[in-house]
Amino acid sequence: MLAMWRGEDGPVRIWEDRCPHRGMRLSFGFVRGDALRCIYHGWSYRTDGQCIEIPAHPELTPPKTICASSYPAESRYGIVWTNLERGGPAPFPDLGPDEGWLPVRSLYVNRPAGQVEAAVESFDFGAPSSIRLKNPSAILLGIGSQMEMLLAIQPVNADRTGLHAVVRGENASAARADLARRMQHLRAEIEAEREKK
């Protein structure tokens, strides 16, 4: 489980969803300024994870060892990417300048990532589409002659997958509602299929 948050300074942070104090989910907490506060005892964490305030001990400078555990986080093309291996960078595809991307939607499918990926490749998004790029975490589709849709594939667990879609191009803004609806059909189609072992 992850806690994602954004302080007033801007960048998104991705942390393990666990307060080092009592294990409470940090995603239940709240952001004030550039710090995330745990909902349980109000311990406050700076953007680098370091605990900076313990309300029950206002005079205490929290020791360096009290630090939230973080993952790499990169915002690119309107999507936040991470790497749960921690060692490497977030594996987003290189699509050139990060400009013009509009959100379509996020949606979750109760099927494994492999099945979702295969269905995306052959799905009818309303105009002839082609696969322009593919890596283990994303598919870039050309839709018609004027639009590009990027679908990030997030394996949640063995049988649940998140799909996060953004679009750019000539009529992208007007196409968002229709593409979002088509993604619902895609989800229904995938879930109607029997699970491929």
Binding site: R105, Y108, R176, A180
Partner: protein
Amino acid sequence: MTITLYDYTLSGSCYKVRLLLNFLGLSYDRRQMNFYPGRQHKSPEFLEINPLGQLPALQDGDLILRDAQAILCHLANKYDADGHWLPRDERFGDVMMWVMFAGGELMNSSAARLHDALGYKLDVHAARTNAHAAFRVLEDHMTAREIAGRKWIVGDTPTIADIASFPYIALSGEGGIGHEDYPALRNWMRDFRRLDRFHAMPGVPEFV
């Protein structure tokens, strides 16, 4: 005229009514019922008020009403003259449709919570599955609303459709139903919690 709410603090259905009473700025007597473990809602005295033995119930002058959704409609109809919470124009049917959804499909989330929190004997797997199916319907609706630049379930301002739907979505974690799959619902809940005169209940975060 005195309004009396037969209330239980931990009930999401009672919370719907308290939310609207607060939004409308109405003062009322709060009759605290011992729902658990006392089962006071099944006592002969309370069955005189509501023969179905369910909370909430509301007395407004001589009128006694049961069912959270019916009570929301009554309060909006009587005390919200400009129709802010229950529009009387073409939005009316749309608002009522989602109010019924809140009293129907969304109550699967309440069932799962009664099972987990108070030990009710029921098919919790079915309740969770049906709750997720209902959440998905509202998630898809709110996604389309977001794309259209709208924040609320119907129209440009919050209505009793939002009030009726909020509690059992916000409280669903207590029945083992997470919000992870529902980004549009999370945005909507955050906006709801920012409303003027909003107040929380145990299990619903106060901080935004």
